[in-house]
């Protein structure tokens, strides 16, 4: 266990020295900050419903940026080290594969989530300074949704990073996964539904399996409980599950998928040749 934290710590130190982290922190953290600052300050004036449009834009941005950022920065962590023989050297010291893999993952999770967390904190501080009621429930749930979405993509990225030998292929794979998931969010699904190409049940299942769509529906129900702004699939889900279960599902499902992929990656890491 002590090596797990050592590996996590060193991974964080390494990330802090790299440029991608600062681009990520500025782009994403800045956006999040703006989101909460404008969201929170406006809410004092007009209440939540009037804000849907503004918030929607931010959520859409998060949906696109967060997964791809996590994927591209993480997918190289093991595959890149393997390719450059860094893995060979580091693992020639008595560190167990368990400590190494999970330590790397813990480190990445902290790196990826810290800017988001600080942005949230900034928003909260700003809201408190401005006075007025803080939408604590919304902030809490939105953070949870962000944690679980970060987690699922971290899991997928580690899995890819482990099973693939070259970091270029890992990167390509990450793009394919991202594009596929994005293509199957509500808009595309709605198109299929309208054309009657697929059975409605299939479409709903596809939506519920797609972590990006799940995040999207979860996040939007926070601000627009009637889901008037997004497609029929989301509406159908809200109708059948009810808002509480929909939220539970949106938080829990991505975590489960993330854990599953992380474990698949870990198994491959232990079973296959390391180099």
């Amino acid at each position: 266990m002590k090596n797990l934290f050592l590996i996590a710590y060193l991974d964080i130190r390494e990330s802090l020295r790299s440029k991608w982290f600062y681009v990520y922190a500025v782009v994403f953290g800045g956006l999040m900050g703006l989101f909460f600052i404008t969201g929170v300050s406006d809410s004092v004036v007009m209440g939540f419903t009037g804000l849907s449009r503004m918030m929607l834009i931010f959520i859409q941005v998060t949906i696109i940026i967060l997964p791809i950022f996590i994927l591209i920065t993480t997918v190289k962590s093991i595959s890149g080290d393997r390719e450059s023989n860094v893995l060979e050297y580091m693992l020639s010291f008595p560190v167990s594969l368990r400590d190494y893999y999970w330590g790397k993952m813990l480190g990445r999770f902290i790196t990826v989530f810290t800017p988001v967390f600080f942005a949230l904190l900034l928003g909260v501080v700003f809201g408190l300074v401005h006075g007025g009621d803080m939408p604590w429930r919304m902030i809490g749930l939105y953070s949870l949704l962000l944690v679980s979405m970060s987690f699922v993509f971290l899991g997928i990225a580690f899995w890819l990073s482990t099973i693939v030998k070259s970091s270029d292929i890992a990167l390509g794979g990450a793009f394919v996964i991202w594009i596929t998931l994005l293509a199957f969010i509500d808009i595309a699904l709605m198109g299929l539904m309208l054309q009657n190409r697929l059975d409605d049940n299939v479409i709903v299942t596809l939506a519920m399996l797609n972590p990006i769509e799940v995040f999207r529906i979860g996040a939007i129900t926070l601000f627009d409980p009637e889901l008037t702004v997004i497609g029929p699939v989301a509406y159908y889900l809200l109708d059948t599950l009810g808002s509480v279960w929909l939220m539970v599902y949106s938080v829990v499902y991505p975590v489960i998928v993330g854990v599953l992929f992380a474990f698949l990656g870990y198994t491959a890491f232990r079973r296959k040749d390391l180099l």
Partner: protein
């Protein structure tokens, strides 16, 4: 019990046998020079000994342990210098911390060992390892490997980037290694270490073609 016991180890990459029924026994105090043309399988053998590659058949034991199933036990007693210094992005300070914490090697010992090869570690602690010059990297890796308490030292061509003086200093340090420690040198320049070894193993096409005690 032999320190390293390799029996009929076989490993293929993409259908080609890179290790072909290799059997070698190494004992405490063995000073082995391992030679052979490029692609003979030397690095692959070493990697299998360190638990990086799963062999298809045969068995490998290092210190009595299976390198795949008991990696940590094996690696606690092995010091390793890879063929090319890896572009580790950690600073020297962080790298030393990693070595200290994971293997219990003392930082002071590493710094002292490095100083004997004219490498000033203290002055570069905040520098990322990959920004050191090729020779400096190699010296640091050597200093780490020699400071770590091990029963087996594995050096995969450690002198490639060293200047003549660095090489001299390195060979001097090698003469001071505990006589019970086994060393496995992979090298293409036997003449340089001839005085330091007591056994020569030659590999070609994945097989041991010569194994002679001097």
């Amino acid at each position: 019990m032999a320190l390293v016991q390799i029996e009929n180890a076989t490993k293929s990459f993409m259908g080609t046998r890179v290790l072909d029924e290799v059997s070698i026994t190494m004992d405490a105090g063995d000073r082995i020079a391992m030679m052979g043309p490029n692609g003979a399988g030397k690095t692959t053998l070493v990697r299998a000994m360190l638990g990086f590659y799963r062999i298809e058949s045969g068995s490998i034991r290092v210190g009595g342990f299976d390198p795949m199933k008991q990696r940590v036990k094996v690696l606690e007693n092995v010091s390793f210098i890879p063929q090319t210094p890896p572009p580790v992005r950690l600073s020297l300070d962080e790298l030393l911390r990693f070595v200290e914490r994971s293997s219990g090697t003392e930082r002071e010992a590493i710094i002292a060992e490095a100083a004997r090869m004219d490498l000033d570690v203290q002055g570069h602690l905040r520098k990322p390892f990959f920004k050191l010059s090729g020779g400096m990297k190699q010296k640091l890796l050597i200093a780490i490997a020699l400071s770590k308490k091990s029963d087996l030292l594995v050096f995969d061509e450690p002198t490639a980037n060293l200047d003549p003086k660095g090489r001299e200093q390195f060979y001097q340090l090698l003469t001071e290694i505990d006589s019970q420690t086994a060393t496995l040198f992979i090298t293409h320049r036997l003449d340089e270490i001839e005085a330091l070894v007591n056994r020569e193993i030659t590999m070609d096409l994945g097989k041991v073609v010569n194994d002679a005690r001097l």
